[in-house]
Assembly symmetry: C2
Homo-oligomer: 312 residues x 2
């Protein structure tokens, strides 16, 4: 069984980790959002790629939700003393990742190539694929400050500002990589991980040709909401600011016709109309993924479901 998983940061990384334990190394490709990528202190930073890789390598700082475990922040402290920016918390070990990636990309390597090499050195067996090697930059349109680069909204302003919309700069001229297209085309199913649909999954879906390929595929999403709330991050708040009730229906409506099945949490209610008239299969289960056991359990449940229902 070949699976292509679409993922953003923390939530996506959790399910990806479960899938990596359940599937063979050749069976899983993880396609990761690069819309959050940005340049900071002259370094090319790819937050979602790092979160996915650090999680798969069991190096992630689980309590913070970003960066590496057992991290120190001496460089950051000294950067602050030199009046440099400290709102984006780069740890000393994490700096090595950014320095090395930046150097390699400056010398002409693609993000895809660098990510493949880092995965090998970190002992990650599955393929982690940046959605594109072309620059796509997510901007958030806010009532208070207009368009802001995503990391400024998310980290600097701690997503306190009110959302009006999203803009993926560069999306029209960006191509999904050959590796991404191949991974989706050759997959038996595509799993949309429980990442933020607006800022983690939509950049991937907005790349040229991706939705067309997905229409012919069995696409399963795991809801990023539990009890109408996001585990972490601004998703429920974003839905409300867009005048949408954060609910199971909000997720099925958002993904629309590409979606064949949604795994949602058993504590969530599904309105009758959705259940009766939608052609999307709705599966209630436990989608809280606090530890490796729960991630493996949900991944196994999805794989079982796919084996039983695959279109092909």
């Amino acid at each position: 069984m070949k699976i292509a998983a679409l993922a953003g940061g923390v939530g996506g990384a959790k399910l990806a980790q479960g899938l990596a334990k359940v599937l063979g190394s050749d069976e899983l490709s993880i396609i990761v959002n690069t819309g959050d990528d940005f340049e900071h202190l002259g370094l090319y930073i790819s937050p979602d790629i790092d979160t996915v890789c650090y999680t798969l390598a069991d190096k992630a700082n689980v309590s913070l939700g970003w960066g590496l475990k057992d991290e120190t922040y001496k460089a950051l402290e000294k950067i602050g003393q030199l009046n440099g920016p400290t709102w984006f918390k780069i740890g000393d070990s994490d700096l090595a990742t950014h320095l090395m990636r930046t150097q390699k990309m400056k010398s002409g390597e693609t993000l895809t190539h660098v990510t493949r090499d880092f995965c090998e050195l970190w002992g990650i067996k599955n393929r982690v694929l940046p959605m594109s090697d072309d620059p796509v930059r997510t901007f958030v349109d806010t009532k208070e400050k207009g368009l802001l680069p995503f990391q400024e909204y998310f980290v600097k302003h701690q997503f306190e500002l009110c959302i009006r919309g999203f803009y993926f700069k560069g999306i029209d001229s960006a191509s999904p990589t050959k590796e991404v297209i191949d991974a989706i085309k050759t997959s038996d199913a595509v799993i949309i991980c429980p990442s933020n649909p607006f800022v983690s999954i939509d950049p991937i879906l907005s790349l040229r040709g991706i939705k067309d390929i997905l229409k012919g595929k069995n696409v399963i999403a795991v809801s990023p909401l539990i009890g109408g709330k996001a585990i972490k991050g601004p998703l429920a708040k974003m839905f409300r600011e867009m005048n949408i009730e954060p609910s199971v229906r909000a997720i099925t409506d958002h993904y629309g016709e590409i979606l064949d099945c949604l795994f949602f949490d058993q504590i969530d209610q599904v309105d009758m109309a959705l259940e009766e008239h939608s052609c999307i299969i709705l599966r209630a289960t436990n989608i809280l993924l606090p530890d490796i056991e729960s991630r493996i359990r949900l991944a196994a449940e999805i794989v079982e479901f796919l084996k039983a229902t695959n279109k092909d």
Copy 2:
């Protein structure tokens, strides 16, 4: 009394620290070699500027002779794990200096400007002046491997290779900064610190116009040799490889007509011919500078001497 001191790294920084304690903040400008500067991991690194600044700010790692005290090396360790270069040992706190400097220079600031700002933030009252804002890169011509960038010879190969000569790439098109020229022109005397003449002082002296200005100045050098040996580094070995006996005479011959006085160590012998026929004043004293007391003592002795003998 206005003093312009010419300095390289460790040895120069020691005397500069003593001079900074003895002279007022407006009385001392330290002109620092930038021939050792290089790019590494995408960072602009200025080893002599850093050694001088860290020493003046009492942040230097005295036992290592480079970098900061209380330093950690987590980023370096992870860079190694990603197969990156680890021969140049950058600490986590030191990284902040290089990251911030690189960013500022990329945004168009000069090394002179960045150094001034860092000095202010580090509480350094004296002016630390890079010799030039134009790139000058010291290469060492070795018997074994031909021309090598200085840091590769010095750090990577631990100066084990045999020297044939020196080459300062860019020296013909580099200008001393306005600040450097002003500091020398307005000085009552110039002190050549006990730095390596070949690779720390010669790049400064080789800049367009510098020797001409120095000819009209009272120039005092402190010998970088004690008992025919360098305290640290390859100077005695370099002299021998150039078929010159490392001695007091080697230093006076090296600096030639620009030199008015040499402070050398009391354990060194001066040959009779030099003493009798040279017009250079030779002063034997204790030039070993292991601690702040010895640095202040030598600095005070030189300033006393200058007050008594100044040409003007």
